[in-house]
């Protein structure tokens, strides 16, 4: 049996937000079902010292199952991760899924579902402490405003929380694709200020590469689970699908490139908008300048004629300052493009290796 774990109450954990792309902010709820207790010497310190995420095999299997049964097409499935923090590791020991959000279920209370689930899990001694959330992704497109908001509210409440991104399509191709991400401290600062104007972002010096940081994952099993694995291996048939070595690549590549192209289109639109803005601002500056000059001239003329000078007019009222375009979105798009490119490169590297192997095999045949 597990010894009692230290527990601490996070100062109000947020909830995973709903559908991708709606950009809705996560609803923040009251404190979770965590029993108030003394922190294990890590409570709320300023530096997130979590260097590694340790996941139980059970969690991996549950996430896989959840997507397999409830996920369709581009819909994402989400759920909550439970566990605790031990020294510099974040241990994830269990998880539970979130129901899909359906339109006709408007009175479905997410908070209540979560509360009840955690209370019930506590009865059976499962760690009921929120440590993060997981989400499935479609071809790696997870860098969205919604994810950012959710992760921010989680990380704000619980410093060490991570979001686990599970890529089912990549997993089906042969190897488990599970990554843990966290917002960088710089991005956390910016989100806290809620100021996404260009000046603020420039000051914080955030580039798209520094928005999310990836935390390495290890998988750990208890001894009894290892025994179970041995048992399963004896009893189950050998896997007969070796997707990992399949040479077919065009389909997957095509999809990836399609998504990449869409994003690049978005990006270029963004750039056009930004350019227009810059041009308009400079035009406006010029106009202001001209106006001021004319004013001065007139004033001088009036002075020479002995008339009182014209009153100073508020320039800012005449020339309304233009709205700078939102920079956060373009940052996100850039981040997403980066992720796509990374995925594509990994994929092509694998396939090149496989092709060379096939070549060697064929040469031997001849």
């Amino acid at each position: 049996t597990h010894s009692t774990r230290a527990q601490r109450t996070p100062p109000g954990a947020g909830m995973a937000s709903r559908k991708e792309g709606t950009g809705s902010t996560a609803a923040s709820s009251s404190s979770t079902g965590g029993v108030a207790g003394k922190g294990k010497g890590k409570g709320g310190s300023g530096d997130s010292a979590v260097k590694q995420v340790q996941i139980d095999g059970l969690v991996v299997l549950k996430i896989i199952k959840h997507y397999q049964e409830e996920g369709q097409g581009t819909e994402v499935v989400q759920g909550v991760l439970l566990g605790l923090v031990v020294e510099d590791r974040l241990e994830i020991t269990n998880c539970f899924p979130f129901p899909q959000h359906t339109e006709d279920d408007a009175d479905f209370d997410e908070v209540q579902y979560q509360m009840e689930m955690m209370r019930s899990l506590r009865h059976v001694n499962i760690d009921h402490l929120h440590v993060g959330w997981y989400q499935s992704t479609y071809y790696g497109s997870f860098v969205t405003r919604a994810l950012l908001d959710s992760q921010f509210s989680y990380q704000h409440a619980i410093e060490e929380s991570v979001v686990l991104i599970y890529d089912p399509i990549k997993t089906a191709q042969g190897s488990l694709s599970l990554k843990a991400y966290r917002l960088t401290p710089k991005l956390m600062e910016v989100c806290k200020e809620k100021d996404f104007s260009p000046e603020a972002l420039k000051k914080a010096n955030i580039t798209f590469e520094h928005m999310f940081e990836e935390v390495p994952i290890v998988i750990k099993n208890s001894h009894l689970i290892n025994v179970l694995m041995w048992e399963l291996e004896k009893k189950s048939a050998v896997a007969d699908k070796h997707e990992l070595l399949s040479l077919a690549s065009s389909n997957h590549l095509g999809k990836n490139l399609q998504l990449l192209m869409d994003r690049v289109d978005d990006m270029s639109q963004d750039i056009v908008k930004y350019n227009t803005y810059m041009r308009n601002t400079s035009k406006q500056q010029q106009q202001k300048h001209q106006y001021q000059q004319r004013r001065q001239q007139e004033n001088m003329q009036r002075q020479s004629r002995g008339e009182p000078p014209l009153p100073e007019e508020d320039l800012s009222k005449l020339f309304k300052p233009l709205q700078p375009p939102a920079r956060m979105d373009s940052l996100l798009i850039a981040g997403q493009i980066n992720t796509y490119c990374q995925n594509i490169k990994e994929f092509t590297a694998q396939n090149l290796g496989k092709l060379f192997m096939a070549q060697a095999l064929q040469e031997y045949n001849n």
């Binding site: 597990h2 139980d56 095999g57 059970l58 991996v60 299997l61 549950k62 896989i64 199952k65 997507y67 397999q68 049964e69 409830e70 020991t93 479905f108 579902y113 009840e116 059976v124 499962i126 997993t171 089906a172 042969g174 190897s175 488990l176 010096n205 580039t207 798209f208 290890v218 998988i219 750990k220 099993n221 208890s222 009894l224 689970i225 290892n226 179970l228 694995m229 041995w230 399963l232 189950s236 699908k241 070796h242 997707e243 990992l244 070595l245 690549s249 065009s250 490139l257 750039i271 920079r327 493009i337 490119c341 594509i344 990994e346 092509t348 090149l352 092709l355 096939a358 064929q362 001849n366």
Partner: protein, 350 residues
């Protein structure tokens, strides 16, 4: 509320002799006497909490047979033979995990199994543990909890039904019968799954049972647990997940990291290599006469060898080169895009 079931002390009268005064009818329905497989004492379980001072009705005199009318907690009829139970590995991992987290002093854990039924098999896809207390002569199961959890689970997967229940431990006990009865109220033909976490015989045996009535018809009926075939079902992605998790068996502190792209290809090829050498070894053994030849295996080997495609070398060259060109081009594009956005970043921040 808790379901509390009390067994009569085993020192009660043996089967044939009528017991001491047949209990006044406290039970609303003539509860069918359920005999656990091991003990010889039929025990009547009360559907509601048995009143403290009453002995539940024990064996009735042969003359007055309580109509095994199967009212109340109805025991299921004979199970269509040969049904298969398909388990997903996530269930077993869950069970083992809840066993590890059991309360102090509890010898085993129980829980509900969820899944789907179809014509030929029963597929178990989910489970959750249910708190319960077990002592020498009493079993208390938290039914409220079970109902609540089922409702919550239904919100996520509306297709899952209650299929039965599981228990850790290597044997079926009398308490199991009582719990099984409760579950037969929730689901028709509930399945009982045992996972032997005490590792008797050095193995973790996983067995499934369904209960059938046994005994002389017209008399008190007993209950027997008949075993079912257990098969393991995997989704493709589950298979991949399990293969990965299995690797912790080989590492000293049971920890593994996730490997990167080319490592994975290397690993997969190593596996195929192993498989091939096993096959080769077998072929050599047959040739040298150590192992007798088996025609079916021979046929498989034949089809295996024939599956390697024979392509003219020129065709293969063109195919290979065009594929490589595609991949290289895409890599180039990806790198180009990445540098583009980096440049854009710099420009915007000027």
């Amino acid at each position: 509320h808790h379901l509390s079931l009390r067994l009569p002390t085993p020192a009660a009268a043996p089967v044939s002799a009528p017991a001491s005064a047949p209990a006044p009818a406290p039970t609303p329905a003539p509860a069918p006497a359920a005999a656990p497989a091991s003990s010889s004492d039929p025990a009547a379980a009360a559907a509601t909490t048995a009143a403290a001072g009453q002995t539940p009705a024990s064996a009735q005199a042969p003359a007055q047979t309580p109509a095994p009318s199967l009212t109340g907690p109805a025991l299921p009829g004979p199970f269509p033979g040969g049904r298969v139970v398909r388990l997903h590995p996530v269930i077993l991992a869950s069970i083992v995990d809840s066993y590890e987290r059991r309360n102090e002093g509890a010898a085993r854990v129980i829980g509900t199994l969820l899944g789907t039924v179809d014509k030929h098999s029963v597929e178990v896809t989910n489970c959750f543990s249910v708190p319960h207390n077990e002592s020498e002569d009493e079993v208390a199961v938290d039914m409220e909890f079970a109902k609540n959890m089922y409702e919550l689970h239904k919100k996520v997967s509306p297709n899952e039904l209650i299929l039965g229940w599981y228990a850790t431990g290597h044997d079926i006990t009398e308490h199991s019968v009582l719990i099984h009865e409760y579950y037969s109220r929730e689901a028709p033909n509930p399945i009982h799954l045992t996972v032997d976490t005490s590792l008797q015989n050095g193995r973790m045996s996983i067995k499934a049972y369904v209960s059938t009535l046994m005994g002389v018809p017209g008399r008190t009926m007993g209950v027997m647990f008949t075993p079912l075939t257990v098969k393991y079902a995997y989704y493709d992605t589950e298979r991949i997940g399990v293969d990965l998790i299995m690797k912790t068996c080989f590492s000293p502190n049971r920890v593994i990291g996730l490997s990167s792209d080319l490592q994975q290809v290397g690993g997969a090829s190593a596996r195929i290599q192993d498989a091939l050498s096993t096959v080769l070894q077998y072929a050599e053994d047959v040739l040298s006469g150590k192992v007798s030849a088996d025609n079916t295996v021979g046929r498989f080997l034949m089809s295996l060898v024939n599956q390697v495609p024979k392509i003219a070398p020129d065709d293969f060259e063109t195919m290979l080169n065009s594929n490589i060109n595609d991949l290289l081009m895409v890599t180039y594009l990806a790198n180009l895009t990445q540098s583009q956005i980096a440049l854009n970043e710099k420009l915007v921040n000027l």
